[in-house]
Amino acid sequence: MTSLVALNSDAHRNLMIDIQDQVDVAKKHNLLPVFMVEFVPSAAQCPVVFAKNHETGQIRPVIMTGFKPDENLFCDGDKWLGRYLPASLRPSPLIAMPDKNNDEKLVICVDEKSPMVSTEKGERIFDDEGNQTEFLKAQTQLAAEMRAHGLQTLELVETLVEFELLKTNPISVTPTNAPPFNVTGLYFVDEKALGELSPEKLAELRDKGYLRAIYASLMSLHRLDDLMRRRTDQETEAA
């Protein structure tokens, strides 16, 4: 559980943050959430599809790193084997949240329970006088960007659902030395529905900057073969 507290130059004067990649938390997961801005760099290495969060039922874009729920073919211990590491595996303990009294204003909060937060290791966020450090300024900027990316991704999904551009169908997987199985619960851009979209709606997708992401997701489906090959290669190595 996270415990978010608004940053305060008195209470957090001596706080230090040591940002670390968190690849090891992903090694038992085959679907990792990504932002819309990550579709293009992700699509070069693995399928970018959509799936429901089991806890909330909300649809979000994910990269597919394995075929079974606990299979991640891009992790070797805490080492990431891909070219692009998704932002969800580089989480910052500093998070931008809307102000309780004013939705327009963002407040920077810190997750005090995060192992990256201490008073011993990493970068200071305030100096002895209580002024923000350059590190904090950069992190604040980044946190605001992350929030914007998150909202943009939510809007993308809402639009795709509203325009009926997502479909679900099982993918059948045929491993070389094991019985075939189906992967279910994934949602894909419906290419046919996209082709039949009205000019007005298509223009809306273009104006909102969604077309690039949509095509990246469509093209990334060719990476399913790469993913299968990665699986076979790792099995061969292990054997």
Binding site: K52, T56, V161, L166, G185
Partner: protein, 521 residues
């Protein structure tokens, strides 16, 4: 112009409430009222007459109905304090409360196998499912799921889709408000807030318009009477007599209370609980924020004071804090539901005790049939009238038989219960069926009519839940697919484990729906 060729262009629904607004939504949606030139629907709702608003349980048909009129399931659940209902649980109906072990059984909405394809009931009756398994648990996973307080679906399940079939419990007052908003904002229904002072007819006895105190005359070619027990159009104006069925169904009074949950995270039962009492029974429906509880009883067999006391005892309300609302029920139906250009839907048409949630369910059915067969001219109306009347007479007779069945199979000894078994109170149609079923399992041939309100499986849940004596021994060789039946029973046990492992608790799903909502895909 020949009046027979008079085109139906304006429908006037008199009365709001669940019946009025649900009918308005169904008609306006199916007749595409927002399109130019389409038939228009108008609802006259009195700002002064309160709605009865007790019907709080539905059948699974409500999912199709709501999806059809374009309401979002998440919005519906949030706005109406709605919860999921997977069936009914009947407590102490077979015999009076025994302190150690109350008798209880379920009537559930889904069985693993459809009895029309393979009826497991005779194989269960012959003992092939094992000797100590109830009928419900032998054929369905839902009873075990309900015992454990589980929901019928997950937060990842699409809107209106189910893992196990379900209906809803809802706050009827809030439901009517939501339907009103949806009808007027999305479906092109016009609302007139006014009190009807007079109903006017032409020389042929067709209603031409209604006078209102606030907005003058409202005319139309078809009138729907949703005025509740008053039955202002069909009863008062058209003089269609009411047929009492209090010689069959003996209850005539209800007392309702609202009981807040003990805490915000209290468990919510996923079934309607119906607990038998000395002279009636108590319903218990869990909504998001409260329970709706009520005592339905026969005033000839128990005093109001005693009935109220039993209700308060059930609610653990010994200090008498809860405010009780008493409702006199007139049980029966109009001799016709449709007369000339007037159709009665809801309490204006008929009422029986809410034991099997027939009220809202038959409102849906009436709205669907009305829009499916919608007459376009006055001439076409006579034919629709006949079909509609035959259909609803059939549905109400079946509903009355089905409710009576619950009482008839009881071995309770109180005078009310004994009277319920006396042959002069039991319809011949029911006795005939029971006689046949005592030696032959219920079959799909008993349910060949498309208007049949309650499904085959519901009868089996009631019959076998109540321990109906069926002697199939002489015909046992007919049931020769024993190996297959045993395999199916084993599959039900496996499916039950699997389904129960997978489903969240009812409360946690409701909380998640309120927080995140279901997806449409």
């Amino acid at each position: 112009m020949n009046v027979d060729e008079l085109r139906i262009e304006q429908v006037v629904i008199v009365g709001g409430g669940t019946a009025g607004w649900l009918t308005a939504c169904t008609l306006a949606k199916n007749l595409a009222s927002t399109q130019p030139g389409a038939i228009q629907v108008c609802v006259v709702e009195s700002p002064d007459i309160p709605t009865i608003g007790v019907g709080e349980g539905t059948w699974p048909t409500m999912r199709r109905t709501l999806e059809n009129i374009g309401l979002d399931e998440t919005e519906f659940i949030r706005e109406c304090s709605a919860t999921f209902k997977q069936g009914s649980q009947f407590i102490n109906w077979k015999q009076s409360a025994n302190t150690d072990q109350p008798h209880a059984y379920y009537n559930l909405f889904s069985s693993i196998y459809n009895p029309a394809d393979f009826n497991l009931a005779p194989y269960w009756a012959l003992g092939h499912a094992g000797s100590d398994i109830t009928y419900a648990n032998a054929v369905s996973a839902q009873g075990v799921a309900c015992d454990r307080g589980l929901a019928p679906k997950k937060i990842t399940t699409r809107s209106y889709d189910a893992v196990q079939s379900y209906a809803y419990h809802l706050d009827a007052g809030k439901f009517a408000e939501l339907l009103k908003r949806h009808a007027t904002e999305k479906l092109g229904v016009r609302m007139v807030a006014a009190n009807v002072t007079q109903v006017n007819s032409d020389e042929d006895g067709f209603i031409t318009d209604v006078d209102t105190k606030e907005h003058g005359k409202l005319s139309g070619q078809l009138f729907v009477d949703c005025t509740g027990f008053r039955s202002l159009l069909l009863g008062d104006t058209m003089q269609i007599p009411f047929k009492d069925v209090n010689d069959v169904l003996l209850t005539d009074t209800a007392m309702a209370v609202q009981v807040p949950h003990a805490s915000k995270d209290a468990d919510i039962a996923c079934v309607t609980k119906a607990t038998a009492q000395e002279a009636g029974w108590i319903w218990d429906i869990g909504l998001q924020n409260r329970l709706g509880v009520g005592h339905v009883y026969s005033s000839a067999h128990i005093s109001d004071e005693k009935a109220e006391q039993q209700l308060r005892t059930y609610c653990d309300d010994l200090s008498g804090e809860l405010s009780v609302r008493k409702i006199k029920m007139r049980v029966g139906y109009r001799e016709k539901f449709w007369h000339k250009n007037c159709v009665a839907i809801g309490l204006s048409a008929a009422f029986v005790e809410p034991l099997e949630a027939s009220a809202i369910f038959l409102v849906e059915a009436a709205g669907n049939m009305l829009s499916d067969l919608f007459p376009r001219t006055r001439r076409a109306m006579a034919h629709t009238e006949k079909k509609f009347n035959n259909s609803f007479r059939f549905r109400w007779d079946k509903t009355i038989d089905f409710i009576k069945l619950h009482y008839y199979l009881s071995s309770r000894r109180d005078p009310f219960w004994r009277e319920n078994k006396q042959s002069e109170t039991v319809p011949d149609s029911l006795l005939e069926k029971l006689d046949a079923w005592s030696q032959h399992p219920i079959s799909k041939y008993d349910f060949s009519d498309t208007n049949e309100p309650f499904p085959h499986e519901s009868y089996q849940y009631i019959l076998h839940g109540m321990g109906f004596e069926q002697s199939l021994q002489s015909s046992a060789p007919t049931f020769a697919q024993v190996a297959q039946a045993k395999m199916y029973f084993a599959n039900v046990v496996k499916a039950t484990e699997h389904i129960c492992r997978d489903l969240p608790s009812h409360r946690s799903l409701i909380d998640k729906v309120c927080q995140y909502g279901f997806q449409k895909i």
